[in-house]
Amino acid sequence: MDIFLQQIINGVVLGSMYALVALGYTMVYGIVNLINFAHGEVLMVGAMVSWTVISFLAGSGMPGWAILLLSLPVAIAVCAALNFSIEKIAYRPLRNAPRLAPLITAMGMSLLLQTLAMIIWKPNPKPFPQLLPVEPINLGGPVITVTQLLILLCTGLILALLVYLVNATRLGRAMRATAENPKVAALMGVRPDLVISATFVIGAALAAIAGIMWAANYGTVQHAMGFLPGLKAFTAAVLGGIGNLPGAVVGALLLGLVEAIGAGYLGDLTGGVLGSHYADIFAFAALILVLTLRPSGLLGERVADRA
């Protein structure tokens, strides 16, 4: 039972990180109907920048948590600028091009970012220093580390902020309007370019934070670290219903739980035939199942179908 509860905790933590990235995917898709293939790489850049800042400040004598905190705005700023530029340079010119074009560009962007990261930071994985207390908190059976706790708290806080942003601010209204009907929104005075850029920037900030969380939780960073989480987060977004913000969170939590529990029990369930290395393809299997059986996702799509 303890193991099960432990996996639940792990699953929720994993799901929280996926949720932050999934939100970025779903917001962008809701507004411009584009899967930003490079989004997972933004997570990676956030982690790498944070690692660079931390390495830089390592000998400064500041307390660990302060260094970590300081790296946050730097990573967010870099990622926001990055995503903003990507949208402006690679996606905006292709808004009216045939569907295949932005898809290819997005894939190229993803590849470019990975390769540049490989060049800048060299291909070998680097340890991400443990800046928070390592001693896990005992919950009477299962344990939770300070890092994991912070991840849950931060995610909760960010989600609350996002809800406020989307529902109670002018920008949020503009985003929702543009997602529903860009032409009419434009007629009402909303500047679509601005809204789209804002969406990319917000998504990047979320991904950057998720990147730092990921690095702190798993203790290592590398140029290819964004690919799988990105893909899984996208699966979560589709699972919940692409374009649907609460859906992205629900999908992400579900996926995180399935992955954690599955990885733990897969070996037992299949009598040793399938080991835990197959956990990675859970996300894909889940994606295929969802898209085959309920393409609009669990909570339903918010994007008008192009019939």
Binding site: I35, P93, M107, G272
Partner: protein, 364 residues
């Protein structure tokens, strides 16, 4: 079309002779060069197959390498000692070991890959472009993970170690694994493989061209242009899409079997997502749906890594060892994908109708 038929035939024959003699010249420059063009031919084969799915039917397949892997592993299992060494029952039945002749391999590889193509096609039939891309990508990854892990409880694929000691191909009794001696003249084994691949490429080009200019090809293009209108005209879009997947996959399967024989060794590392992406890049950058463009794209991207090897030596020194040939190749492919989509979205050598048709993509 525009030129008189006679000119076209002349051009084809000249090109044909040139292609046939090419390796004999390159042999003098070094065996490495012949290997490059032989592998380029395999990539052309793959690109032609992917072109059926992406170019004709408009279905973005990001996991095409899965069919390549299926063909390669199929041949590896049917033509190497692995199965006989792992399963006593097989060793009993085949005391000489498992060897499969080429006239069985080609149809088997094509058929097996086609089956996988249909298996992939069925769940994705109703998916829109972006979703289709992700699911096919997932399919490719699923295959790779299985290849990497199917070593317990029964060792089928030998996991990350891969399968080796694969038989070379033999055509009409002549083994392609050894050099051929014509009197005093020595033709290297790689050249022999090149000719086999070239023959397959020519056959594939003919097949693709004939399909393109037929009722089937038109139906695919109708689906690509507007699926609903295609349905309204009575086209059975489900079957046509499955046909595209199956045919495209079959090309991949045959290419895979050839690859396994050529290398003598297969491992999951040869069948990564990067390969699938590169194949899509070949088709799209070359000129989607246009056979000459696709061939151009394949040859360029296949030859690129090797050409870079000569250039990269200097760059490596310049950047203190950070950029090597593999990284440079990835960088250039990424930049090419972005650049060409922004500047010339219909590809480097698009079909004549498309070039004029594509709206100016780089409108600021």
């Amino acid at each position: 079309m525009m030129q008189p038929m006679r000119h076209r035939w002349l051009a084809f024959i000249t090109a044909g002779i040139g292609l046939l003699l090419l390796p004999l010249f390159m042999q003098e420059l070094g065996a490495g060069w012949v290997r490059i063009v032989a592998l380029a031919m395999l990539y052309v084969l793959l690109a032609l197959g992917l072109n059926i799915v992406v170019g004709y039917a408009g279905l973005l397949d990001l996991g095409f390498v899965a069919f390549y892997a299926v063909g390669a592993y199929m041949y590896a299992l049917l033509a190497s000692p692995h199965l006989a060494e792992t399963f006593a029952a097989i060793a009993q039945h085949f005391p000489q070991g498992l060897h499969t002749p080429i006239w069985m391999v080609i149809p088997l590889g094509a058929a097996l890959a086609a089956v996988f193509g249909v298996l992939l096609g069925i769940p994705v039939l109703k998916l829109r472009g972006d979703y289709l891309a992700i699911v096919t990508l997932g399919f490719g990854e699923i295959i790779r993970v299985f290849l990497n892990n199917l070593e317990h409880p029964v060792n089928i694929t030998n996991g990350p170690r891969g399968l080796d000691r694969i038989d070379p191909m033999a055509v009409w009794g002549v083994s392609l694994g050894k050099p051929l001696l014509l009197g005093d003249y020595r033709i290297s084994s790689v050249t022999l493989y090149y000719w086999l691949f070239l023959a397959l490429v020519v056959l594939s080009v003919v097949i693709c061209h004939r399909l393109e200019h037929s009722r089937v090809g038109r139906a695919w293009m109708a689906i690509r242009e507007d699926e609903i209108a295609a349905k309204a005209m009575g086209i059975h879009t489900r079957d046509m899409k499955l046909l595209a997947f199956a045919l495209g996959a079959s090309f991949g399967g045959v290419a895979g079997a050839m690859f396994a024989a050529f290398q003598g060794f297969v491992s999951p590392e040869s069948f990564t997502l990067m390969e699938s992406i590169m194949l899509v890049a070949m088709v799209v950058l070359g000129g989607i749906g246009h056979l000459p463009g696709v061939i151009l794209g394949a040859v360029m991207l296949a030859a690129l890594p090797e050409v870079l090897r000569y250039v990269a030596g200097d760059i490596q020194n310049l950047t203190g060892g950070r950029i090597d040939a593999a990284i440079l190749r990835q960088l250039l492919i990424a930049l090419a994908m972005i650049g060409i989509m922004l500047l010339r979205p219909s590809g480097l050598w698009p079909s004549p109708e498309r070039r004029a048709a594509t709206p100016g993509a780089a409108r600021a």
